[in-house]
Symmetry: C3
């Protein structure tokens, strides 16, 4: 029986990235839907639930993607609401790569830092899709997390939503200048840059002058780097006594985790793979 | 050569139910199109007709689905109009499951009633996609059919359209209360409930008090049942001297018929599978 | 690893013709996108580029189709702009079949005429997608080409665009009546009719009275023929001392060339298949 993945995407064009990754993770057939709204979800999910018997239903699964995490979360809620009784399938939520990228970055950082319990961590560009979920995962692993944004109100709103969604306490801060960024980073052992492409969030002169900073990770693959001086391909490179990760270094793990989660969707028919579950998978892939 | 099924659907999102069923019926590749209008059909059909030679063309076929039977019928007419000379492919029409569900229900009822010739039958919710086609099939099998609706004008319009489309004579009646429903059912041996979800059309106190009623079938899978007291899973259950079918009982045959018709699409390249042809298939599946 | 073809089409419904042809050319999976605009291209292409490693990337490719050559060209430019450094895939451009049909027609004509160097050629309906590209290919093979249209300004604009795009010199002329068409054709050895369906561009009484005309080709498959008296199935038929090609005769080579180009997309990951490259393929297929 063919492994069928229903790809639900709020964007007009459903993601090609997510589609090719699914095919490479041995999905047999993709049913791709773009411009998906919460209100269009129920008949799509019921179509999946009512076509295969209980023993075969785990050969059908759902992937939720798209560039907007908020729109994806609304779809996820509608998918869960369409399930009833034993009628459900497994779901991977990864709008904008938020979960797989955040989980991979956090797992790399945790391993390089020798664990996160009690560590001080800063997430620059912390209000974006990857940044906010990485902040939550770092906090849940025991780190003291500052979530930095250029706008305090956005940082505060994100911190509030992480408290509600993840039960994670992160402290919102602003970082509008190199000086302010340096102040925020004083005492931090870990920094992750997850801002928008095209913006350098952390100058090299700042991070090289912070002796306690041990692990730096940058999610930006397109020049200029979010952390000046880090090359995309670095994957644990040591320099100036620090361990450095670029976007492709993180991306290598992200791709493995993404595909592993896709494969596990079809192992059982009743699991939701969101940030926490994806992170468990990422941590396992670090040790293998 | 791959078996290619062109899925034409008037809804924004082409049906996932129809897609998965086609894949499970050994279709190799689905070309799925939503928001299809009659005027967009010709180039799509010509694309199918002009790509494979005459000996290979039966590996291409068309499925017409969607929630609206009227919109589907307009697509079907446009598909037929796009054929010319020997350039045609086989087509299965099953908007809203109208044909496969109606055919499966009628075949179950016919077998349980020991044939339909001269039997009195009532279809409650007879103006919907399944109800109207089941009414036509029951009539063509020789039953005296009352087609009931809450609104007489809708029942009358449906009866008129069945006369034109199927050459089938059914009598329109109103059923707006339990008392009216009881009156309509007096003398009937067969009743099918095919109304919208969420409405109980026939109370248990009514049907248990009608001694001549022998076969009852309910197409509603979601509680409350259309015929009070029937469980979705019942598949010929005997109770109070009557034979009872629920939606999943009918649905089991519907799925087999749906898949069988999909497979037969690719046997020959020039057949239209509408209500009558699907019913022939359903009756064959009852005896095997 | 599955051969994935990203089908980009500016029409609302991506072409079924192009999809089935790709499947029959051994593409494993199609990712089909309709209503594509230049501005929606980058994330789609990046999704293709960022999912597979450099050694595997040639298993991913792009097909650009749709009924409008202009819209397709805008998509092609956007696709090229989304490539960077070693990150690219192969692309076949064939909006409205412009390249494969023009290449097949030109290759057939060249072979029948014993080469095109110095020959006089006329393209009737020369401003359409097939006509303009055939005119360019004929000119690049050395023919003296008249590009005829009912409207001089359109012929002139097309000639200008061919000069810019192909470096090909063709002379714009008008052909609004049989008399004018006869005048244009005087001295011509070759004529190709590539106008819209439903219009006879060249009466039989005209072409039979032109002794120097040796090769006639008509791209119109639907009656009436563009060149009166030519049957669609003729594939080098000799009559009145002339060699005649109809649309299906050309179409047979067009399909072989179309599929061959699709297969070659996956041989290397960095080639653009536009008119010139498709013509090379067509010429090779003439000799085998």
């Amino acid at each position: 029986m063919k492994k069928v993945l229903l790809q639900l995407d709020a964007d007009e064009h459903p993601s090609v990235f997510d589609a090719v990754t699914a095919l490479d993770a041995e999905v047999d057939v993709l049913l791709r839907h773009g411009s998906v709204r919460a209100e269009s979800v129920q008949p799509l999910i019921h179509g999946l639930l009512f076509t295969r018997g209980p023993e075969e239903l785990h050969h059908s699964a759902v992937f939720i993607g798209g560039s907007s995490v908020t729109a994806g979360e609304a779809i996820l809620e509608a998918v869960k609401a369409a399930f009833f009784g034993p009628f459900c399938v497994s779901v991977l939520f990864d709008a904008n790569g938020c979960n797989t990228t955040a989980a991979a970055a956090t797992a790399k950082i945790a391993a390089a830092a020798g664990g996160l319990e009690g560590k001080h961590a800063v997430v620059l560009g912390g209000t974006g899709p990857v940044g906010c979920r990485a902040a939550a995962l770092l906090a849940k692993e025991g780190a003291q997390v500052l979530l930095a944004s250029r706008t305090f109100s956005r940082a505060e709103a994100t911190a509030q939503s992480l408290r509600e969604r993840f039960g994670a306490a992160v402290r919102p801060v602003t970082a509008t200048s190199p000086e302010e960024t340096r102040r925020i980073l004083e005492g931090a052992e870990v920094v992750l840059a997850a801002g928008a492409a095209g913006v350098t969030l952390l100058p090299e002169s700042v991070w090289t002058s912070l002796p306690e900073l041990k692990v730096l990770a940058d999610c930006n693959a397109v020049p200029p780097a979010g952390i000046e001086g880090i090359k995309p391909g670095w994957n644990g490179r040591e320099r100036e006594g620090k361990i450095l990760f670029g976007a492709l270094g993180i991306g290598e793990l992200k791709m493995r985790v993404h595909k592993a989660c896709l494969k596990r969707l079809f192992e059982a028919g009743d699991r939701i793979w969101d940030a926490e579950e994806v992170f468990v998978e990422a941590r396992e892939h670090m040790t293998t």
